[in-house]
Symmetry: C2
Subunit: 247 residues, 2 copies
Amino acid sequence: MELLNRHVTIRKFTPKEISTDLLKNIIYSGTRASTTGNMQLYSVVVSRDKKMKEKLLPLHFNQPVAKSAPVLLTFVADFNRFSKWCEYNSATPGYNNLLSFTNALIDAVLVAQNVCIAAENNGLGICYLGTTAYNAKEHIDVLELPKLTFPVTTVAIGYPEEIPDLTDRIPLEGIMHDEVYTNYDEVSIKKLYAFKEGLESSKQFVQENNMQTLAQVFTNVRYKQADNEFFSKKMLETIKAQGFVID
Amino acid sequence: MELLNRHVTIRKFTPKEISTDLLKNIIYSGTRASTTGNMQLYSVVVSRDKKMKEKLLPLHFNQPVAKSAPVLLTFVADFNRFSKWCEYNSATPGYNNLLSFTNALIDAVLVAQNVCIAAENNGLGICYLGTTAYNAKEHIDVLELPKLTFPVTTVAIGYPEEIPDLTDRIPLEGIMHDEVYTNYDEVSIKKLYAFKEGLESSKQFVQENNMQTLAQVFTNVRYKQADNEFFSKKMLETIKAQGFVID
């Protein structure tokens, strides 16, 4: 619990390499996670080579954390391997659909989170890069991912240069619902987000971006509708191009 | 690591209840997981009430594990709360799209896995119920989930009646790829799945189902194309009905 409760995202790493044995150990712990029907619908691509990392860096919008990390692990939703096993065993796979895609995506995330916890338990630090799904097509090209696979998320991993303070979370009652979902109104929302909005870092964020509210930093700067729609369109095309039928 | 490495799915629970404090503690550990931009795009619905559980049971195809568990936790991808926060703060949310849906789905799974690990660390056992996504629409009705939310997975949780042996996994080299994805051929597939196919339980499974190969048990009995396509269609309709634009 203590390990989970003190988790922080690490954005600066020392140059120290991660040994292959340690890498294998933490990925092994990943494989112990539950997956759909124990089908293990995922793969992990390890990026350590300098040239490969240089190719990936722009796909993560050149985030310094991606550059600083000695290892990038890309977690891939993978129905290719399982389907091939079926084909070589006189069985006809039927996994090129939305439900199967979703199951593989869930499997990949379960494994990723186990790997992150195992990494932290060994003194490593991690940062999830959400940019993988934005540039899934380019990841597919660079990492040579076949049909029926899809890169879901990447974890930047290494030895922490420094350990930042815990980041804020909304109060537990804001996310926990008893028996049925209790919807939010202005009063409950204001209460839940008061701490976040009151942080010095949040106020600075609002000011630096010339916004009136913290929410506007999200909607107008960080996660804009036009960007979301652009990358959604690209993502859907890529999912389809990977052989999944979504209609 | 030890905790992660000895994880097994528990399908039979003792009648012992989980205290509210313990439940809150493990869900709190869930909230310490990384999420997209720290937006916490998830909610957790706790089902303990007998009548509510009776409504949910058929949605999990009456799996005995769902009946046996004192608590069901449904992890919900949730862009409703965040969008409401935006609206109450003079910000226009643009999160009714595929990318945002995917981010919320990933967030929900990260939190779920943390909750499971925290639960196991407290002597509880867990079983993921993949059936939630199959019957998302019905979950939405029973749990009263609003627009811009989607139930991703449910975890059955309780004190284990018995601890089964570790289940099989394919060898680590089967899921780990060095720099680029190495595709599989008949030789590598046969090698990776030899252990799984050779298990007594697998052989029994093949025989009981009157199949020739273990893969056929998956394609012809457990995860059939026709079922996958039926539930994929339903799932896509439900995602759209929840307000996400997928086209």
